[in-house]
């Protein structure tokens, strides 16, 4: 397929249609609304389900119900809406139901603003609700990645019967770039063995996140943790640039990752041995690779559009072996490449003992 100019939000929506998504439930919130608007047209054209829910609370529970049928379903929102979905996400996680959630992050806390942010890093990578679980979190840095990760999200959700969050930020949602959409994949006609489809010629299927017996509920938790361990082992994704001989490793994801790429390129042109690692999965975090790189680097710099959330994960991966610096902007402010370059130079200067 030829490349077309696509806005991130629209690209995710159309990719979901082409991934065989059969139902979408959502509520308008900037900066992701184009996603919902696109689907309000496309899902009807494809004779599939689109419901504008009365709230994000309802939307996520519609997703829960729809996902119980074993079909591909999705919702999307932005930070305050994702907060409202925490309850439903926890139930879904406790029920082993595959679900795809899109979070086009905006400035917070509170109503905050509608500008780009990565302030939901902890919210989506830690638990996204009560109880012990962690969704798979994909962080696209371009419109093309937003498309590719939407397809991947459905595949991973089904493979692990797990929640997959596409954590984009307002900039990815609003930006237009040439990108290529995949061909249409028709919805699967297979009904998974666990799905609710009517107890005909079989005992009833029951889907629930509920177990009054402590020992049994612990078994549920152990099963969830086993799956998470498998996900950690198999699904760490990242890209890296100029890491072969880097003394300073910059780590950034999504929009910040690509802005940092510009800064790192400039730093290289100026003769600084700086590399970039851009996590594509925020959970599972690419610990293994960062840990490996730690043997060769002298220092790390984390860049984010928050007060330093992924910073924790980098510190854990680095294990105290090298210093970890941080540069970030908050509340909807997007760092310019020049600012990141300055931070890179400052961190680099420390290495030279200047």
């Amino acid at each position: 397929m030829a490349k077309e100019m696509l806005k991130g939000n629209v690209a995710i929506a159309e990719a979901a249609v082409r991934a065989g998504m059969e139902a979408y439930f959502g509520y308008p919130i900037t900066p992701q609304t184009e996603l919902l608007e696109h689907l309000s047209k496309r899902m009807v054209e494809e004779d599939r389900v689109f419901v504008q829910a009365e709230s994000e609370v309802a939307a996520i529970n519609m997703v829960y119900g729809a996902a119980c049928t074993g079909k591909r379903v999705m919702t999307s929102s932005s930070s305050p809406g994702i907060s409202l979905m925490q309850e439903g996400l926890s139930y879904i996680a406790g029920s082993y139901i595959p679900t795809v959630i899109v979070d086009v992050m905006r400035g917070g806390p509170g109503l905050g603003n509608i500008l780009p942010s990565q302030g939901d890093y902890w919210q989506v990578t830690r638990m996204a609700g009560h109880g012990d679980y962690r969704p798979i979190v994909l962080a696209p840095a371009s419109v093309q990645e937003a498309i590719d990760f939407t397809i991947l999200a459905f595949d991973l959700a089904e493979k692990y019967r797990h929640i997959v969050v596409i954590a984009a930020d307002g900039q990815i949602g609003q930006m237009m770039e040439p990108a290529e959409l995949p061909v249409m994949r028709p919805p699967s006609t297979e009904v998974p063995h666990w799905a609710l489809s009517g107890a005909k010629n079989r005992p009833p299927n029951v889907i629930l996140s509920f177990n009054l017996n402590g020992a049994d509920q612990e078994k549920v938790n152990i099963a969830i943790q086993e799956r998470i361990a498998l996900i950690k082992a198999k699904e760490q994704r990242w890209v890296e640039h100029y890491t072969e001989d880097a003394d300073l490793l910059v780590v950034g994801y999504g929009t910040t990752g690509r802005i940092a790429f510009t800064a790192v390129e400039t730093a290289r042109e100026n003769g600084l041995k700086v590399g970039l690692l851009r996590p594509q999965t925020l959970f599972p975090f690419p610990d293994d690779r960062i840990s490996e790189l730690t043997d060769n680097i002298k220092s790390c710099l984390v860049v984010e559009m928050n007060a330093g959330q992924m910073l924790d994960d980098v510190r854990l991966a680095v294990g105290g072996q090298v210093p970890v610096g941080y540069y970030g902007r908050m509340g909807g402010a997007v760092p310019m490449p020049e600012e990141i370059l300055e931070a890179v130079e400052a961190e680099y200067a420390k290495l030279q003992g200047v």
Binding site: K3, M5, T30, P31, I114, G170, Q171, Q174, M175, M176, E177, P178, R258, I259, A260, F261, T262, A263, E265, V334, M336, P337, E338, E339
Partner: protein, 181 residues
């Protein structure tokens, strides 16, 4: 090669569309390109701007502190971007009361609204500006823009295609007649 453009003006002046048009033309000519809007809560009337980055290599940051080119359609945009442009500053002198005093960059005042008015629609000012801009700074040819217009103009504006072509030409001719300062 990498070029960065910031287009800024009132909502309704076609600032977003002219940026998108440049981006479409860049894509159609096999460049890497990003288009990113500023987006605010108001649907109408506020100052809007968008950034277009065109490159022959994958683009890192879609935003820049000092774009090579800034294009201002009104007074607030002039004030905001006059000091930011690093090579070329194009402004709509029909709507802007000030004059660019910088000598370290090329300044190009274009009476775009007045020229558009002569063509019969104030809304063509964006095309006049683009025609002028690309004549001074030929990242893409006017004919590439014409092709992009033909492909991407919204269907309900298709009857205005010829007028848009004319507006591009008017912008080009204006620049060829006046000396730059």
């Amino acid at each position: 090669m990498q070029e960065q453009f910031v287009f800024s003006g009132f909502g309704g002046q076609g600032v977003m569309f002219v940026g998108q048009l440049l981006a479409y033309a860049a894509m159609d000519n096999s460049f890497e390109v990003t288009w990113i809007p500023s987006y605010g809560p108001e649907m109408r009337g506020g100052t809007a701007h968008c950034t277009v980055v065109i490159s022959d290599r994958p683009i890192g940051s879609p935003i820049v502190q000092n774009p090579k080119v800034a294009i201002a359609f009104n007074n607030p945009s002039f004030d905001k971007y006059v000091s930011v442009a690093s090579e070329l500053f194009v402004y709509n002198s029909s709507m802007v009361d000030s004059t660019c005093q910088r000598s370290d960059i090329t300044a190009l005042p274009v009476p775009a609204t007045a020229l558009a008015d002569k063509l019969g629609s104030l809304k063509l000012a964006n095309m006049v500006m683009l025609g002028a801009l690309l004549t001074v700074h030929p990242v893409l040819s006017i004919s590439a823009i014409r092709d992009a217009l033909d492909i991407h103009i919204p269907s309900h504006h298709r009857n205005l295609l010829d007028l848009n072509y004319q507006a591009l030409d008017v912008g080009m001719q204006h620049v060829m007649q006046v000396p730059l300062f």
